[in-house]
Subunit: 178 residues, 6 copies
Amino acid sequence: MELTHFDDQGNAWMVDVGGKEDTWREAVAVGSISMTRECLERVKAGSLAKGDVLGVARVAGIMGAKRTSELIPLCHPLNLTKLSLDFSLREEAGEIQVMCRAQTRGKTGVEMEALTGVTVALLTIYDMCKAADKAMEIGQVYLAEKRGGKSKTFRNEKHKAGEGNLFHRGSLRKKEEP
Amino acid sequence: MELTHFDDQGNAWMVDVGGKEDTWREAVAVGSISMTRECLERVKAGSLAKGDVLGVARVAGIMGAKRTSELIPLCHPLNLTKLSLDFSLREEAGEIQVMCRAQTRGKTGVEMEALTGVTVALLTIYDMCKAADKAMEIGQVYLAEKRGGKSKTFRNEKHKAGEGNLFHRGSLRKKEEP
Amino acid sequence: MELTHFDDQGNAWMVDVGGKEDTWREAVAVGSISMTRECLERVKAGSLAKGDVLGVARVAGIMGAKRTSELIPLCHPLNLTKLSLDFSLREEAGEIQVMCRAQTRGKTGVEMEALTGVTVALLTIYDMCKAADKAMEIGQVYLAEKRGGKSKTFRNEKHKAGEGNLFHRGSLRKKEEP
Amino acid sequence: MELTHFDDQGNAWMVDVGGKEDTWREAVAVGSISMTRECLERVKAGSLAKGDVLGVARVAGIMGAKRTSELIPLCHPLNLTKLSLDFSLREEAGEIQVMCRAQTRGKTGVEMEALTGVTVALLTIYDMCKAADKAMEIGQVYLAEKRGGKSKTFRNEKHKAGEGNLFHRGSLRKKEEP
Amino acid sequence: MELTHFDDQGNAWMVDVGGKEDTWREAVAVGSISMTRECLERVKAGSLAKGDVLGVARVAGIMGAKRTSELIPLCHPLNLTKLSLDFSLREEAGEIQVMCRAQTRGKTGVEMEALTGVTVALLTIYDMCKAADKAMEIGQVYLAEKRGGKSKTFRNEKHKAGEGNLFHRGSLRKKEEP
Amino acid sequence: MELTHFDDQGNAWMVDVGGKEDTWREAVAVGSISMTRECLERVKAGSLAKGDVLGVARVAGIMGAKRTSELIPLCHPLNLTKLSLDFSLREEAGEIQVMCRAQTRGKTGVEMEALTGVTVALLTIYDMCKAADKAMEIGQVYLAEKRGGKSKTFRNEKHKAGEGNLFHRGSLRKKEEP
């Protein structure tokens, strides 16, 4: 088991990916924010009519994902070819779940881009709702799936089709390339 | 209960804080990342000797917090006067906890800066450890305490001194201004 | 008549504002984009139901205005205390008009911030509509009003209440501070 | 007619260009700023001797164009292979016209980069001249020509060789690749 | 002797300046780049007529200095109130010397801003001249003077009026505030 | 001898590299900072135990190098495939030397990225040590080696194996690709 972001003297570096192929790569990450029922109702109302919290959070997540290599020190810069965010309001659980799907044709995976998209969107929801609920909590942020490149496809065991999980395996797959 | 980031037509805006006083303000946020025991051991070993994951994550969190208003659309730009991050390895739980303390003298609170510092640090740990463990999960990210400004001090009920929580109320307080 | 952004040898500099007072300052800028009637209809439909072009453009304008001093070489960095954008669809003219209102408490005016907010919003509309109309044109971008600081209030003669101009003098004034 | 920047639920996304070829692509955009004759004389004098407004605006336009994908939410990041700006002083009309030519080898067009280069240059001229003339107006910003990629070459009808237009079709073409 | 950028456990932090006064502060930094005589002649010719290397480097230095707190991890963000760069061609020595003067009203000094302005300008000269001379060397970059704040004025012993040094003590002083 | 960053009218531009091949390219740059013996001892002590100046400077250099095209006006944006920084404490000389190695697969060389990595790391050391020594000096910053692309390998004559120079030709070569 290697922490590859350090050289053999233990110094941080941006690892050499110059010998890797440019291949199609995709990563899907998810995350949640829990809040009071009242606050969630406000978000839901706004998405239908006015005060569109999720619309703003989606733009923030897309823009944040594009800046991943500026934020994460040892991340390679790369040019995303696709990025989308989806939101799911789970009213019974008092949660909003975010899913971010990132793609590139390049030499490294895009899991950090997907995770950054998720967290910036969640922080933006927090910012817009904090006047109504200061005790919101961000959690369950993880990589759901990663495909492409030389290593084999990764699917997170935690991420299964389930009760209340709108981003189940089926929906993860719906936009896959053939 | 108002979502103040929207005007009376429901349009997003950066709310007017021009009439607020410049006062000392502080926010403390926390968050965690869970990982396999093997991965946590590697991080721990590196912090003592070489391959310093937490040192890199600390720098990333500080730099990320300074860019909060670039990432969060409706956040006001402000000049932080202090920022620190602390890490706590909770081996029994297989977790690393991060605490970020942000301060300013200004017209708005700094909870988004503290939360952004926490999440960028956690994403950086994820990036540096992902070769060893792809199923890590980021969670329990919340505002622990907020002081200063006109509204009264907020302390998150979830955040109590407890078993295994190294950033208990006592430590939160140790650096408070008189 | 001085171009103050150059010293007495003609070298560009960021002029000294250190001796100026921190006062409330406001600027309002406007601008337009013209497009085909079909394209305008699509934008209008999206704002009501889905595909919210103006919602995305508003977020982009707010975020762009915050980065003014990074884009305009000799602009002083400053911390905006308020920023809002409003859109007006002028169907008979085949135009969308944007108005951006910026405020700060500081040593310099915020006209560049208001103008940058307007142009980034207009460019974003262009980007989102360009698949439907490549011949759109951005124009009539100017400072409508500027208040605060030592110089007296400026009101642009061109900007009068008029037929079809939804951002007439009355609406410019509606949010003024007393 | 599609607004492709939205998915079939109307949510903004960064559209998938992963299947597109990397081809040579070019875009040319233009725009103008009108000002008083006195102010234009000052700019002209400075470009010859000292106080080089257009030199600063050129650098700002180049740097701004490189940051297009940070400013325009749904724009794909891409690596420009060429960028140039040219200015034309039209004294009889009291205008400065800017032309920006952008090129890349990539999967998407560069019209937004060319338009962003034009508008940032125009805003910079505004900033440097605003002490002399607050009523300047930015306008006539449009895509003049777009070549490369799968869609056929676009030439804007408005953009013809004409009286006073220094960036006529001939000059647009002079640097074209064979 | 303290390295104040670390807390008492040796962890990097952004030190607390919240208790400091907002006072006028100034820093002046210098630096040089040496090159072949032929290359220096080209730069000199360009500054008079066309191909203005120093004009571009000046803009880059100003813009770079504004981003100091994004580049230097533990630097506090602050709003510069003045920034200027001056160049001096020392032909006999085959050198171009740069001087950057930064000012603010704030809680911390601006030496890092002045030094960053100098080095970004020097790197820009390097970039523009490297086709003609790859062996250029950047050196003698140091803080020349620092004034304001609670600590007493610092003047670097190395920085004296001397033969060929155009930024001698006299010129350092010429723009000082009374 | 051409200053290629200007067109034939002497206007700055980002030169056309669209016709160049994507090839492996590498650049190595070095630079130094001199300081008092006491200050150097502090840095050395911190690197072993706590207060890790060089660890922070390494992260800053990596992140700075990734932003080269944002800082240097006419630099092409490119995606680095590898970046590393090494430090060498030369106690007898009272100096810390930095070496930055940058690689890409692309159309232009990466010497500016390597030089930017070196200077941002040196500025960060300056920032962290300036409380202990204000008279530090940054110097001897130059390109040591450049390989790849169409032009032949460049090796700087100044950069030889020598007394006290830990980054001698042997170590420069140790990580070369075959």
